[in-house]
C-alpha cells in the first residue's frame, strides 16, 4: 500500500492533510486494516481545543476501541458527519476519509510528523516484515 506523499503521519496511525492553516485528519489504511470493520466514530464537537499528541476521540470496530491522537494543536473547525451513519467509509478508503478538520495554531509541530516514506518504514517494522 502506497501512502500518499502529500500527507504527514503519526506513529499512532493518523494522517494530516495540510491546506494553508487548515488540517484534515484521518486514520491510515494500516489502522483500518488492523481494526477491522469500523462501526463507530467518536469525534469531538466543532470548537473543541486539540493538543498535539493528546487523544481527541476514538474509532471502534466490532471487537476493539482505538483512541485517536491529534497530530497537531488547534481548534476543531469541522466534523465529518457522514461517519455517524456510515463509519465503514473509513474501511473503504482510509487515506481520503477525513474525520475532523482543524485550524492549526502551531505549524512548527508539523515538522515532528512522519513523511509517507518514514511511515511506511515504521509500519514495516511494527508488523514485523
Amino acid at each position: 500500500m502506497a501512502y500518499p506523499a502529500n500527507l504527514k503521519y503519526t506513529k499512532e496511525h493518523e494522517w494530516i492533510l495540510v491546506e494553508g492553516n487548515t488540517g484534515s485528519i484521518g486514520i491510515t489504511d494500516y489502522a483500518q486494516e488492523t481494526l477491522g470493520d469500523i462501526v463507530y466514530v467518536d469525534a469531538p464537537k466543532v470548537d473543541t481545543a486539540l493538543e498535539a499528541g493528546k487523544s481527541f476521540g476514538s474509532v471502534e470496530s466490532v471487537k476493539a476501541v482505538s483512541d485517536l491522537f491529534s497530530p497537531v494543536s488547534g481548534t476543531v473547525t469541522a466534523v465529518n458527519v457522514e461517519l455517524e451513519s456510515a463509519p465503514e467509509k473509513i474501511n473503504a478508503d482510509a487515506n481520503s476519509t477525513w474525520i475532523i478538520k482543524v485550524a492549526i495554531t502551531n505549524p512548527a509541530e508539523l515538522d515532528a510528523l512522519l513523511t509517507a516514506e518514514a511511515y511506511e518504514a515504521f509500519i514495516k517494522e511494527e508488523s514485523g516484515h
Binding site: G36, D37, V39, Y40, S58, E60, S61, V62, K63, V65, E84
Partner: protein, 377 residues
C-alpha cells in the same frame, strides 16, 4: 529473560495462515480471529454457512461401569436422562455451586462417555476431575482419559450447514436431531463423530476427526469446497463471539466463572437437583431457598455508544450496580447489545440502566433473552 511458552497450534494452523487469517493468542493458542472480516463471517453463518476450527477445545473420555456415576457426581445436569447418541449441556461446579467450566456430555454407550470442554480450561478441568471423581459415590471402575490431542474439531454452522455436510457423507443428517450425534464417514474419514451442536445460534454440526495435519486439512478443504455454492466462509473467534452473544450463550470467564452460581447465571434449566447428589448441589439448594442477589440481564443500547466487556453498569442515580460481562455491536441484529449482572430488584423492576462507556453514560433497555433466535423452519 526467559521466553514465554510458545503458543499451542491446532492441526489447521498452516491452513488458517494460507487463508490469510489474522491470528491472535487465545488462552495460549495461536488462533484465527478473522479471515475476510468479522461482519462478513458473522453474516455468512446467519444466512448461509460458516466454518470454524475449534480443535483447541478439550475432549475427556470416561469409560467403564462407573462412568455414568462419576459424571453424575460432578455434573449439574443429569446424565441418566441421556440415551445413547444424545448430548446435554451441563457444567462442572465447585462445592459453592459456582462454575469450574461449562461442558457438553455425550453418551456414546452405557460405559463410554465423552465430555467436551473449553480450550482455556482444558487442563484445569482434567485435573479437577481427577482429584474429585474418587470421592463420588458409585464411581468405582471408571477410567478417565484426556483425548484432546487426538481430535481435530470442526464446526459447520448456518442454515446451509446440513446441505454442505450432506455432500461429504452418506449419513442421513436429517435423522440427527438437535443435541444428538452419530458416527459416519465424512470426506472419506471413517468413524467421524457427527454432532448436531454448535455455539452460533444457528443449525449446524460439530465433527470430530483424527488430529493429524493431512486428515484435518483434507476435511477442512473438502468442507470449504462443498460449501462454496452456499457462500461458505472460514470464520474466526471474532465472529464466534458475536454469534454466540446474539444467541445469548454464556462464555466461560464472562457470564460464568468460579465467582458466579447457577441461579445468578440463569442456567437453572440445565441443573437437576431433585434426588441427585453432585458437587455443588447442597450449596445450590441453600441458594435456591433464599434467592439470588444478582441476575444476568440482556441489554440493548438506546443511545449512541457500545457497551463492552467490563464496563460499569449504573442506575438512574448514577450509582454503579454491576458490570457488563459481554458487550459488542451485533452484526446481524444491527444494534449494540450486552449481557450484565445487576441486582435482582433491578431485573424485577425492568428499569432502564446506564452503561459507563468510557467518558459517557449511555442508556440501555433491559430486553428478553436471547437477543436472536433462529427462524423456525
Amino acid at each position: 529473560m526467559t521466553d514465554a511458552a510458545p503458543l499451542q497450534k491446532t492441526a489447521l494452523n498452516e491452513a488458517h495462515r494460507r487463508l490469510g487469517a489474522k491470528m491472535v493468542d487465545f488462552g495460549g493458542w495461536d488462533m484465527p480471529v478473522e479471515y475476510s472480516g468479522l461482519v462478513a463471517e458473522h453474516l455468512a453463518v446467519r444466512t448461509g454457512v460458516g466454518l470454524f476450527d475449534v480443535s483447541h477445545m478439550g475432549e475427556i473420555q470416561f469409560r467403564g461401569p462407573g462412568a455414568m456415576a462419576a459424571i453424575s457426581g460432578i455434573s449439574m445436569n443429569d446424565p441418566s436422562r441421556l440415551k445413547i447418541g444424545q448430548i446435554q449441556y451441563s457444567s462442572l461446579l465447585t462445592p459453592e455451586g459456582t462454575f469450574v467450566d461449562d461442558i457438553l456430555v455425550h453418551k456414546l454407550s452405557e460405559n463410554d462417555w465423552l465430555l467436551v470442554v473449553n480450550a482455556g480450561t482444558r487442563q484445569k478441568d482434567f485435573d479437577w476431575i481427577g482429584s474429585h471423581v474418587a470421592d463420588v459415590h458409585g464411581a468405582q471402575g471408571v477410567h478417565i482419559s484426556d483425548y484432546s490431542p487426538h481430535y481435530s474439531q470442526i464446526a459447520i454452522q448456518g442454515p446451509r450447514a446440513a446441505e454442505t455436510l450432506a455432500k461429504l457423507t452418506q449419513t442421513d443428517l436429517a435423522a440427527i436431531r438437535n443435541y444428538w450425534f452419530t458416527w459416519g464417514t465424512v470426506a472419506g474419514v471413517a468413524n467421524t463423530l457427527i454432532a448436531r451442536t454448535g455455539y452460533s445460534g444457528e443449525d449446524g454440526f460439530e465433527i470430530y476427526i483424527p488430529s493429524d495435519v493431512p486428515t484435518s486439512e483434507m476435511v477442512w478443504n473438502a468442507l470449504l469446497e462443498a460449501g462454496a455454492e452456499f457462500g461458505i466462509l472460514p470464520c474466526g473467534l471474532g465472529a464466534r463471539n458475536t454469534l454466540r452473544l446474539e444467541a445469548a450463550m454464556s462464555l466461560y470467564g464472562h457470564e460464568i466463572d468460579e465467582a458466579t452460581n447457577v441461579f445468578e447465571a440463569g442456567l437453572d434449566r440445565f441443573c437437576k437437583l431433585d434426588g441427585r447428589e453432585f458437587i455443588g448441589a447442597d450449596a445450590l439448594r441453600r441458594i435456591q431457598a433464599v434467592g439470588v442477589q444478582r441476575k444476568l440481564v440482556g441489554l440493548e443500547m438506546q443511545e449512541r455508544g457500545i457497551a463492552r466487556d467490563g464496563y460499569p453498569v449504573l442506575n438512574a442515580a448514577g450509582e454503579t450496580i454491576g458490570a457488563v460481562t459481554s458487550g459488542s455491536p451485533a452484526p446481524f441484529l444491527k444494534n449494540n447489545i450486552a449481557l450484565a449482572y445487576v441486582p435482582s430488584a433491578v431485573v424485577e423492576s425492568g428499569e432502564d440502566i446506564w452503561v459507563q462507556v468510557r467518558a459517557n453514560r449511555v442508556r440501555a433497555k433491559q430486553v428478553p433473552l436471547p437477543f436472536y433466535k433462529r427462524p423456525k423452519k
